[in-house]
């Protein structure tokens, strides 16, 4: 049987029954869109993902790109896939009509993208990066720069990259060293080296534009001195032709996963002839990047969910097919063996995956939905409130699917037993792919600091209160729908526990003990994520109770909700206690004690 990638019923349920996402179509921004358009988009993307993208996944994993004569040679499948991804709208579906996009709700586009990612995350990665690069230019570039760069990027004639990381500047982008010197002609001469640049070069389009963080000559030190430049692999000469722009691929990284998309080391300006074009104003680069971060981080969360989902689907199919052993209480050794799915411990592993995958899907879609409202809601006050909640949820959406998704992929391997560890089966590859999601776009450590040090305490705790209100609204919905009262009570109790912990931690900071506040920021992130996902399971349970008909799918939903609320939510108490107590084991290990 073909791997369905995701459960269509679940996507439909989440969009329609949980989020009522089609209500977005009443907003003026989506007046040109009908529900039938969105259904057609989703069904086309999912068919393409299943029939075309998935069959290319293994070959691309097994034969990564190589560096040949200074250029990157990608897997030949990309040549055929790329124009199809472009036609499908993988780059432009959510972009405004005015720049050649289709201006569809990000919620539905994200749902569709889950299929593309689940089928072949590397192939889709080229589109995601091109979208990211184009979006930066669209939002901050001058008209001239937009006219020059947006059409080729959005039409997929060129691809884009995000060139931030340098060897000494990974998590800490303040330490970026790439330099840009102004010239009388208006462009900048760039020199420097970038590392890990995904899609840093390819052989299926004629040009690549690197959205690059660099320091202008004389820029102030630190985060306030970083600018954003667009640096094309080939620049436009006076006669309109494209000529080499002194951008060199100096190496490709051999990596654990994501092998279908190259991660390159780049050198700008080795011959002192690399032209860069300032995007927006000088020294605003990091600010621009941060403004784009919500969407980029939702997409990392989506990758996490998609990768866990495809592995889960494989595990379910395997568990329903393979027979092995008999229940411990079976007396007759000649009785026929049972299927894996009949063993209690395999069921535990499957339900845990389901809870993570569908809980993560709920989180990712909720965040995308908030992004739609923050951008397009009619009332300015609603846009403002939504933006606030969105910014609190973003580090969770980035992290939960990545961290728990890795565990989920590991469970998918576990369900396969030894076969899962062999490359005869695809689950090992998804496990490898998944690891990246805890690293790029800000590591989990950085997300923990962002959530506790910045987001929840912003504006005297407005961030926390926005989140608490949203969760309470979910509890009220669950009550109205007659979800078991103890489920709702559990979520409310932990809301109280975490609110107290947040206040205590903020208090530490007020007393000048910032290290004490942040010591357990990872545990804080874990606790808040677990609770937020419990809220979203509660809302899914509410949507089941609201449905006129109860199906086996609904029954599965309720059991997954029950699982998360019974087994995961209680952990939040212990995590909160660690945060507040400032348990200091790792802080106290002396340098020579490691």
């Amino acid at each position: 049987m073909k791997n369905p990638l995701l459960d269509d019923r679940d996507l439909d349920f989440q969009l329609r029954a949980v989020l009522h996402a089609d209500a977005l179509l009443t907003l003026p921004a989506f007046a040109h869109v009908s529900a039938a358009d969105l259904d057609a988009m989703l069904s086309t993307w999912r068919r393409f993902a299943r029939d075309v993208l998935l069959p290319t996944y293994r070959p691309m994993d097994e034969q990564p790109a190589v560096l040949r004569d200074g250029g990157v040679v990608c897997h030949p499948a990309m040549k055929a896939l790329w124009p199809q991804l472009v036609d499908l709208g993988a780059i432009t579906a959510s972009r405004p009509l005015g720049v050649g996009g289709q201006q569809l709700p990000l919620t539905h586009v994200t749902a569709g993208t889950l299929y593309l990612m689940a089928a072949n995350l590397s192939a889709n990665g080229f589109a995601g990066l091109t979208l990211g690069a184009g979006h930066l230019i669209e939002a901050f570039g001058s008209d001239a720069l937009k006219a020059e760069l947006l059409p080729p990027l959005y039409e997929g004639r060129w691809t884009g990259t995000m060139a931030l990381t340098e060897p000494q500047a990974g998590s800490s982008l303040a330490d970026v060293r790439t330099r840009a010197t102004p010239t009388a002609q208006g462009h900048f001469l760039v020199s420097g080296a970038k590392l890990f640049i995904s899609g840093g070069d390819n052989d299926f389009v004629e040009n690549v534009v690197h959205l690059t963080l660099a320091r202008l000559d004389g820029a102030p030190a630190g985060t306030r001195g970083i600018s954003l430049l667009a640096i094309p692999k080939k620049r436009r000469a006076a006669d309109g032709s494209l000529v080499a722009n002194d951008v060199k691929v100096t190496g490709l990284i051999h990596k654990l996963g994501w092998r279908g998309i190259p991660s390159a080391a780049l050198a700008f300006g080795e011959a002192n002839d690399c032209h860069g074009y300032l995007v927006g104003e000088a020294h605003q680069g990091l600010k621009y990047m941060f403004q784009m971060m919500n969407e980029a981080r939702i997409m990392v969360g989506a990758n996490g969910v998609a990768t866990a989902a495809v592995a889960y689907q494989q595990a379910v199919a395997y568990a329903k097919d393979r027979v092995q052993g008999r229940p411990p209480w079976a007396k007759d050794p000649a009785a026929p063996p049972v299927r894996l799915v009949e063993h209690a411990d395999v069921r535990r592993q499957l339900l845990r995956q389901k809870a993570i995958v569908e809980g993560g899907t709920a989180l990712v879609l909720r965040t995308a939905h908030l992004a739609d409202l923050a951008a397009h809601a009619a009332e300015p006050a609603q846009r403002h409130d939504t933006e606030r909640l969105l910014s609190v949820l973003t580090p969770l959406t980035k992290t939960f699917p990545a961290e728990k998704g890795f565990e989920s992929c590991a469970l998918a391997v576990q369900v396969h037993g030894g076969y899962g560890y062999s490359s005869e089966y695809p689950v090992e590859a998804w496990l490898r792919d998944q690891k990246l999601n805890t690293l790029h776009e800000g590591t989990t450590g950085i997300q923990g600091l962002d959530l506790l040090g910045r987001k929840v305490v912003a504006d005297g705790g407005e961030g926390w209160r926005a989140l608490a209100r949203a969760v309470e609204a979910g509890c009220v919905r669950a009550e109205r729908a007659s979800v078991p009262a103890e489920w709702t009570r559990g979520v409310r109790e932990i809301a109280g526990v975490l609110e107290e912990a947040t206040l205590a931690l903020a208090g530490k900071a007020l007393e000048g003990d910032v290290p004490g506040m942040l010591l357990h920021s990872a545990d804080y992130l874990d606790a808040v994520s677990t609770w937020v996902v419990a809220w979203l399971w509660l809302e899914q349970a509410a949507a089941v109770h609201e449905a006129p008909l109860r199906t086996a799918f609904h029954e599965g939903k309720l059991r997954a909700a029950q699982y998360w609320l019974a087994t995961e939510l209680p952990r939040c108490r212990q995590l909160a206690a660690l945060c507040v107590a400032g348990e200091d084991s790792y802080a106290q290990v002396p340098e020579e004690g490691w």
Binding site: A36, A40, S43, T44, V52, D87, L88, G89, Q102
Partner: protein
């Protein structure tokens, strides 16, 4: 001469859904089913689009069913069909009713070609195209296929497999027959029914999906077409095929031959 091609887009159960007979044996369980365009029809739409891309003209897509079949009409429009005809009919209909409606549509539209799926994957009748050609008195070529493989350059460059003669009066059709391929020349107008190896249908482009809703969709009914679609056939029972019995191991060839001869009576 610009072409006019009529194609069909039947809404059928998606073969990825679990299809089961209902307990009463009167039909299938509808709950939880997904639907899609009959894959043979999709191939017909694709072929028609390639033909008009080469020769000019328009592709008209028709579907008979409840409003749900708009989804399939829209898919054909998003693929590139020019306009749609919806025969609004919610009840049961058999192959005679379908062919009757299509005949009336052909009489109104006067296409040069009607390209239909050779059968639909729901009840696999394989009759409508033949009835239609017979009743219209048109030539027919069933099971149209492609000489080249689906990995060939001809397929990659989206060359139509059906070839029109220079004067536009005849169409050359390669058909799949037992053990090989047969080539027919049919005088136009003609009915052609598609087999699976004719082409690989395209995925609609997102901008075209968005445009589909602005394309004309005409509503008709069997009554308006003057067709009585009262079914002439009734389904008396429907049941799943018996589950396959587990295999057995035989000790040697002699035992195998014996079993084949005396138990299975296969030789």
């Amino acid at each position: 001469m610009p072409l006019k091609i009529l194609v069909t887009a039947k809404r059928v159960e998606d073969s990825e859904s679990k299809i089961r007979a209902n307990p009463a044996g009167t039909g299938i369980v509808l709950e939880g089913l997904k639907y899609k365009m009959n894959p043979f029809d999709e191939i017909g739409v694709e072929e028609a689009l390639r033909l008009v891309a080469k020769h000019g003209g328009e592709v008209v897509v028709a579907s008979i069913g409840s409003k749900d079949c708009h989804e399939q009409l829209r898919q054909a429009l998003a693929m590139g069909a020019t306009r749609a005809i919806w025969v609004n009919h919610a009840g049961p209909i058999d192959q005679l009713g379908v062919a009757g409606c299509l005949m009336k549509i052909c009489e109104r539209e006067k296409p040069n070609l009607a390209i239909l799926g050779k059968q639909s994957i729901d009840d696999d009748q394989n009759q409508v195209g033949q009835y239609l050609a017979e009743w219209l008195g048109w030539s027919q070529a069933t099971f149209a296929s492609k000489e080249e493989s689906l990995d060939s350059d001809a397929e990659k460059s989206k060359t139509p497999a059906l070839k029109l003669t220079a004067d536009g009066a005849w169409v050359t059709v390669v058909r799949e027959v037992d053990g090989g391929l047969e080539t027919l020349e049919c005088k136009l107008p003609a009915v052609v029914t598609t087999d699976l190896r004719l082409n690989q249908p395209r995925f609609s482009k997102l901008p075209d999906i968005m445009k589909a809703k602005t394309k004309p969709l005409e509503e008709l009914t069997p009554a308006a077409l003057g067709v009585d679609v009262t079914p002439q056939l009734t389904v008396t029972s429907m049941k799943a095929p018996p589950a396959r019995k587990a295999g057995i191991k035989v000790p040697d060839v002699a035992a195998l031959v014996d079993k084949l001869k005396n138990e299975a009576k296969a030789i």
